[in-house]
Amino acid sequence: MSFHIVVLGSIVPDPLQTLEPVSTPQGPGLKNEQMLPAVLDPWAGHALYEAANLAAKTPGSKVTLVSLGPKAKLQQVMMAVAQKVPFELVALDGPAGGFTDAHEVAARLAAAVKALPGLDRTKLLLFGGWESASRGAGVTLQLVGELLEIPDQFQGVDQISARPDGSFEVLERVEGGRHQVSTCQGAPAVLGWATGNLPEPKNNPQIGMANMRLVMPALQKAAPAPVGTGGVEFASVQVPKVMRETRIVKDASPDEIARELVEWISKD
């Protein structure tokens, strides 16, 4: 049994950057957002790497990344991502800021998934981030699943194990550091990934070269997707409180780090 794994994921400012909210004519935004280097949303990144891993284990499977973001930034980010794992890209040219309305974004993404050539719903696994590192409301993936009428949805996924008959076992995070184990009879299904278990793949130039033969044309024909705030008004915007205490310590044990973090969090 093979799968067509469609990963939904876009870009976010590189998390190392200093973010400052500002008001723009289009609504809330980030100061100098276009100047900030971007990365693939780390949550979506986990989903993509898990998708590639699953595809590699189930012969005949393929991975498609559907990404709604500013074309120029997508192009830049793809040069880093495309070296990691094999995938095809469907690019939608529109704003990727978290202030876009999740319903509007979901509608565009669902339409793009429906329009995938030769899409077979019986093989469709819809992957994405359980959360987002942008200001997204964290519901987009679920909404896309509903629009595509996929009732089997899993969120906070850490692991998927496919079986030869097309069914699969899913581990979802629950309280207390435990997992809920579910068995799904087969595709279609929606899986919102937590962090997964896989390290970031190494850069492989051959994968990059192969990917770019399809990624470049996909970027060039990216359809406009002018999503907005959907009538939502933002009363106020603020970034999370930041506390800085810089101290460089090498070779600290995980236990020591954990203890310090607990103490630090407890202060607030």
Partner: protein, 612 residues
Amino acid sequence: MERQSMAVDIACVGFGPAMAGFLTTLSRRLAAAEKPPLESAASPGLPLQVVCYERADDPGFGVSGVVTRARGLREAFPDLEAAQIPMAAKVRQEKVLYLLDPVGASRRSAALRAADAAIRAARFALKYEEQAVELPYVPAYLHKLDGFVFSMGQLMQWMSGQVLSTGTVQIWPGTPVASALVEGQAVKGVRLVDQGVDRHGNPEGAFLPGMDVTAALTVVGDGPVGAVGRQLDRELGLPQGSHGRRDWAVGMKFVVDLPEGTPLEPGTVLHTLGFPEPEIFGFLYVHPDRVASVGIFVPSWFESPVRTTYRYLQHYVQHPYLWRFLRDAKLRSWGAKSILESGRRGEPVLAGDGFARIGEGSGSTNVLTSSGVDEAFTTGVQLAEGVIELLEAGKPLTRENLDAAYVARRRASFVEAEGRVAEKARDGFQRGVVTGLLGMALAGATGGRISLGEEPAHPAEKVSSLEQFYAGRIPAGDIAAIRRDCEAKGVPLHDALMDRAGWPAVPLDGKLLVTQQDALLVGGKVQAPPGYADHVTFLRPELCRSCGRKVCFEICSAEAIRPGEGGVPTFDREKCVHCGACLWSCTQRLDGTDEVNLAFRAGTGGLHSAEN
């Protein structure tokens, strides 16, 4: 070990201004529908396969304070407007300022002290304010009045976007090139760095040997400290008689948010000299939206063995002339970079069988006009024009053909003509600042026919001992005590010695004046991915142990090199910004050659800011 390989037509090393010029020109030709396609020999049936490997994690993570006349850039982009590129502004005002020393701690010669006294006495007749005097006359060759102020990071982001949007070439960030594949006098491609190794390069975990990428042409634009360019210098040699790569500087800058109500207009350019040390030049460029770049250059001919750029930069921004603008400024970004100040004299072999050199590493920087980005870009354009000519004619990319198609273009251009004028312009600095400035003026006024001084010695020869540098200011006994104390604490000497020499403590304010580690984290966002080897190593530990100067960790821009046990410095890859200052500051020459005991290889990580 199984090492994968892949064939392309053109492999490019490093995405800087020069490679942007090369790929902009080449990609336009490849995308030109009205012209016959240039077909791949490596992958028959496909268009020409062009890949560019960039060490940093993003094409926009370069560093440079850029003010440029942009002659080459405007030729390539005739409709270039500042509004197209974030942080770009037309130059509107340009001043050269001599900064007096308001704290009395800098090391000034008797001639300079006399000049300072004369300036203070005559200040009412001069353009004098806040311990600075504006030079009444600035030679035309120094002006950039028809040019732009850029952020290098944003300029590179913009240009990479232009190149990638054609869909004809690929730029791969986060992929350092370890070496060129050299066979005899020819280059056959490149080898990428190994992944999945420990800090010593030993395989661990998911080991992925660096791939061999073969190519008919390897374009080397990895800058002055790039591993591939230096490998070619070693293996193929420099042009006969050249000791060209001996004149260096490290530039370090803050990018700051200026306070509201700042009087500084976008496009304002200040060049300074005289402070914090006479040998250290500085700049302030104003971008749009109340953002400015402010920084200094510490040259290799500065004799101090404790030449800490960061501490000097902190004193520089507090000079009264600048501090009135920067008092309430906030750090946005930070970075550092080495500059090869040998210019035309440092030119390597520009082309050979299967390879060509472009950009700063190819000696394109003009050290008289203090201009490098536009010259580098132009050399890339020239190479692309030559390569297109050869490919269209079906000629092979041999030394002879590249000489005719690329090197000849370069020789006929302003890069060469002005580079020749500048070639000896800075030699006077080998004898001191005043002689250096006079030498520059003479070279500029006579079109390079007359200059002062002599060809630079190896940088190691310029570094004096601590006792010599601080003679008359810190007794030898005190220096010995400070040395013992710092060795016991495992810290560099520079802070203690500067404190003792009279430099005031830096009043950290958490906004602009922050610790060096905070500059890395808040400003440079420095990090390095796991699974790669250390790119800085020390070849012969016994030479480090016997080294009395250890300039490597004094100048290290990121405190990545620190004193280590047994006298051999340690290196922390996660902090390194790849500025390369350690490379030319190592005083331990190997067997009388220009090579030194510190090896600086290709590596990943570094700055993660696109605003520098």
